[in-house]
Symmetry: C2
């Protein structure tokens, strides 16, 4: 079933109360991949409610509101144990469950009544359509739900957005192919890199910080929301601080631009990544910001790859993950 | 009016639809102070929904759901411009608004129909009751709402918790007075300190990282959720990494203990702060975890103070805040 059919089926099945709340559940990068979908519902939904949880937190302190009128969207590439359990818990509570999985052999496909197999976008090979990623599937499900449940007015623009998405991602990657090595040279010896952004891009910023830098590069990194920056974090800023600033094209762009003005004065080691330069302006303003992180995610990966190449550090190197018991 | 009277008045005023959603809005430490209240509603409420936003994000991309059946709780010590504007926006949308303010002269008192003047707990002077802080007021409002709207069963235990809170905080501070200098000696020359925790303590962990370390100590810091730690961030861990681990007494304690087991193996520079040692076990298990961050917040401040003293760095020193235009 595609996203439209899945949502139709779920809404038919729950017609008495309907779906009243959506829980997005996952760990690390898989959780961050659900962020744009959560963000869409949190900003646009009139009666539907959305919540966003790490799988372990969802399991240990399961929300009392999770039940037959809830939809739980769980995401994991390779059956993360906590996420498999969260899937099971949601089913036991008679919630509707959609599993976003990396393979049809996933246990989550057995547990969840609905599942979608996504593909990771490889920013080097570029052989996957950007509409097939976990971010895109989750966002599409959220648009479907908004439309089918609340008659969301910008639905046609959203569908057009998905049509244009892959072209915009490819443009963003081509543009970044030339700029990423410049960043890598500046950041080669940095042991700490701040990643900043706002709005729908909070998830991409978080993933870029914890997956690209902490996990793959073994480099300390803080994800700083540009709206929070001036309320504490900016005190560490000086000319030497390495900062990657994601300037988005959504409604919170003003926050990113405010941080940009400040950083231009006090920081010498700044890399600005502005999604406007990728042609995302082609997408209708009403829905553009929700697509922003779907472009940023692969683009940020290009910067990470350039850094890895310069450092001779293999991005697949792990100290602990899948190597020791934990 | 006290918290009980404010909630009664709001529920009388909105009796047709009642309050369906609570938005917690603030910046930096003031936002983090609302976290325990948000966390309570997110886990315990059956029909009420809660959301948690930075004031600028709330302003730039105001949720479509914010309206007459919403309650917006805004917090700011000294009229943060974005938070004052968020207050005004919420009123313009006919939401009910409660302002948590640092002074009765706050502009927010003029804008919001309800306001409460809180007191900052000074971990050195200890001359304020811990039930008068922003964290305590917000949490009390949330308990009142849960009780009056949904008949929350553990309400009497919660009220007993507030009675015991100040004693537990004082015990936590006395306990930490002896341990904080040990932490400070280990961390004296660290340029990066991780702060870890989970559940209701996510806000205290965030505040400790961005307010104590980044803002007051000009020391880089990452706030890492113990449930997320194993999905990326743990790859930077080695014997030298400086880590402060908050082990809570709530339902997510298992996540903190899992991180503790791992850190005991791979990290030499670990400081464990376990709220169990503060006697928080006296509070009933049903509500204990919601009080955990109210104890951790002043306790973490003691560690920060010890570090400041050893470094001869004044905690009130700022490079930019209220010193340059931004």
């Amino acid at each position: 079933m595609n996203a439209e059919q899945i949502m139709k089926s779920i809404l038919l099945d729950t017609k008495k109360d309907g779906i009243q709340q959506v829980f997005f559940v996952g760990c690390g990068g898989s959780l961050a991949g659900l962020y744009p979908a959560w963000y869409l519902l949190s900003r646009e939904a009139k009666t539907l409610r959305a919540a966003y949880y790490n799988s372990s937190e969802f399991l240990q302190a399961t929300p009392a509101a999770c039940g037959p009128s809830s939809l739980v969207i769980c995401c994991s590439l390779m059956d993360t144990p906590e996420t498999v359990e969260a899937c099971r818990r949601a089913r036991a509570l008679n919630a509707q469950v959609i599993a976003l999985v990396g393979s049809d052999n996933s246990q989550m496909v057995q547990i969840a009544p609905y599942s979608i197999c996504y593909r990771n976008f490889d920013a080097r090979k570029r052989d996957t359509n950007a509409s097939e990623t976990k971010l895109a599937w989750a966002l599409r499900l959220a648009f479907e739900l908004l439309w089918q449940k609340e008659g969301y007015a910008a639905y046609p623009q959203a569908m057009e957005g998905f049509e244009m998405l892959n072209d915009i991602v490819l443009a963003g990657l081509r543009y970044s192919d030339r700029r990423a090595p410049i960043f890598a040279q500046k950041a080669e010896n940095e042991t700490m890199i701040y990643v900043m952004g706002s709005g729908a891009n909070n998830g991409a910023m978080y993933a870029s910080s914890i997956c690209n830098l902490l996990e793959c590069m073994w480099t300390d990194s803080i994800a700083v929301n540009t709206g929070e920056y001036f309320h504490g974090p900016f005190e560490t800023t000086d000319q030497n601080l390495a900062v990657m600033l994601m300037v988005g094209t959504g409604r919170t762009r003003a926050l990113d631009e405010r941080a940009l003005r400040f950083l231009n004065r006090y920081c010498d080691n700044l890399t600005v990544i502005d999604s406007k330069t990728f042609g995302i302006d082609r997408i209708a303003p009403s829905v553009r910001e929700y697509f922003d992180p779907l472009v940023f995610m692969p683009v940020m990966d290009i910067y990470n790859t350039a850094l890895a190449r310069l450092r001779g550090h293999c991005e697949q190197d792990r100290r602990y993950m899948h190597k020791v018991a934990y």
